[in-house]
């Protein structure tokens, strides 16, 4: 086994195992994430608090687990659902276009315009306009934008592949468009591109949710999010107490690295 392969195997395995463990923390440490203890603020790692405590004496590991399971997982569920909706809409649009429906072009134009909007700015603008913190506005903005992006990705893939020799041969043999789209597209040549796109969307969702929570427009205290944990410790790490920053930033980087690893290992079967 080459060095690069061994490194990738270790990297993928470590990221997957560490984030899965983090997500499982709330079940093991239930209730610890919200338990304030002002006598135990900013303690270092110990047997009772494996990663130490934050500025209100809450268990840091429990807070990170709460952020991963309570903020990141629901957001990922929405992104996956939005991608499935985008895929279904794109397949329906391709089938409708085949039957000569002109409305598809209008829909395409709207989708192109929507996809050109920077996702982070749109989510921030939406959350600020709604004047409501929490995951709801973030989920809605990201869900719509990622559904549109998946829709356009599938439309592009179809435009690229529809004149390939085996696609045209299937047409000549009397095969249906729906069969081609499913067998040659979704389960065939598009699978990797779609999985890569999904991995990227999941990673972007983590970054955007954390950013919005940092700005005060996402998940708010006392609920945990990587962003609001960083924001509430800002003065501490500017004054040299960087331990919480290191732990939270590592957990956030882990959450951002998890989706691409998942796609590589389970989507493409690249163990190493």
């Amino acid at each position: 086994m080459g060095k690069a392969k061994a490194w990738r195997m270790t990297h993928n395995g470590a990221v997957l195992a560490a984030f899965t463990a983090l997500v499982l923390v709330p079940w093991a440490w239930s209730g610890q994430a919200m338990r304030v203890s002002l006598a135990q603020t900013l303690e270092g790692p110990s047997w009772v608090h494996p990663l130490g405590t934050d500025n209100l004496g809450r268990d840091l590991l429990a807070r990170l687990g709460d952020a991963a399971a309570g903020a990141v997982l629901p957001l990922w569920a929405v992104v996956v659902a939005a991608s499935v909706v985008g895929l279904a809409l794109a397949l329906a649009a391709i089938l409708a276009e085949e039957r000569g429906r002109a409305a598809v072009r209008v829909f395409d134009t709207v989708a192109v315009l929507a996809a050109a909007v920077p996702v982070g700015l749109a989510a921030f603008g939406w959350a600020a306009w709604r004047e409501r913190a929490g995951l709801g506005p973030v989920m809605l903005a990201l869900g719509v934008l990622f559904a549109v992006r998946t829709y356009l990705q599938v439309r592009d893939l179809h435009r690229h592949d529809r004149y390939l020799a085996f696609w045209t041969a299937h047409v000549a043999l009397g095969g249906g468009l729906a069969t081609r789209l499913w067998r040659y597209g979704v389960l065939g040549g598009w699978r990797e591109a779609l999985l890569d796109g999904l991995g990227f969307h999941l990673r972007a969702a983590v970054a955007i949710e954390a950013s919005l929570s940092y700005l005060g427009f996402g998940v708010e205290e006392p609920h945990a999010s990587f962003g609001n944990m960083l924001a509430s410790h800002l003065d501490l790490y500017l004054n040299g107490h960087w331990y919480v920053l290191a732990v939270v930033a590592t957990a956030l980087a882990l959450a951002a690295a998890f989706p691409p690893c998942l796609v590589r290992v389970f989507g493409r079967g690249e163990i190493g």
Binding site: A4, H11, A116, V117, P118, V119, G120, L121, F124, G125, A128, W129, E131, A204, V206, A207, I208, A210, S211, Y214, L215, G216, F217, F226, G227, L230, L234, Y237, L238, G240, W242, L245, A246, A249, L252, A253, A256, A257, P260
Partner: protein
């Protein structure tokens, strides 16, 4: 609003300058390795490894801020605008721009694009012709690969760059349009928020138009290449 616009434009200008410098560096590396039999493989692996560092600005920003201050004694926070001249402001915009380049994925994309474009074009007739005339293949390739890679990378990353701009300006306390939008949103000044967002959208449209125009120009030029 103009002063906010100036800071944001400075940061974006530095982003462009940094990607250009990074592109030249990556091109130089790709060109040096072209004679090596395993060059293609190592470029691909290098690109994959580095693409993995496209971590959120919320990780890179605070770590850079704290690391620079506590390890090197450098304060990366923006100075108060009233007390400093333009050169200090321009220098202060480098760190946010570097964080943006990393976190928006521009750096990783550029690495991949340069390797891919270099491999794609180096066997083309115009390069072989240049070599036959005793010129270096790099003289024929350099401008094409660099401009095309830069365009491709900016095309991919522009929305993410603008998305991360707000958070980067907040982290570094850079008085730009993103920070202004955030302040307006916090005090529920919807007029101010709308104004900042419209300026940001305008800036984004200009950047996207320049990128689209450059891409179209390149494609017109490429039609004349062999």
């Amino acid at each position: 609003m103009l002063k906010y616009f100036e800071t944001t434009t400075l940061i974006l200008a530095w982003c462009f300058a940094l990607t250009l410098a990074w592109g030249v560096l990556v091109y130089w590396r790709a060109a040096r390795r072209q004679g090596c039999p395993s060059s293609h493989r190592s470029e691909r692996e290098g690109a994959r490894a580095l693409a993995g560092i496209t971590v959120p600005a919320l990780v890179v920003g605070p770590v850079a801020l704290v690391g620079a201050f506590h390890l090197a004694g450098i304060n990366l926070l923006f100075p108060v605008r009233f007390f400093v001249d333009f050169m200090r402001l321009a220098a202060a915009a480098v760190a946010p721009a570097a964080v943006l380049v990393i976190s928006s994925g521009l750096g990783g994309h550029l690495l991949r694009q340069v390797a891919r474009e270099h491999t794609h074009w180096r066997g083309r007739p115009f390069v072989l012709m240049a070599q036959a005339l005793g010129q270096s293949s790099n003289s024929a390739l350099r401008r094409l690969v660099l401009v095309k890679s830069l365009c491709g990378a900016w095309n991919q990353c522009l929305p993410w760059l603008f998305g991360e701009l707000v958070i980067v300006e907040c982290i570094f306390n850079a008085p730009g349009l993103g920070l202004d939008a955030w302040h307006a949103a916090r005090i529920r000044d919807f007029g101010g928020l709308a104004e900042a967002m419209i300026w940001l959208a305008g800036l984004y449209l200009v950047a996207a138009a320049v990128q689209a125009w450059t891409s179209a120009w390149i494609w017109r030029r490429l039609e004349t290449y062999g």
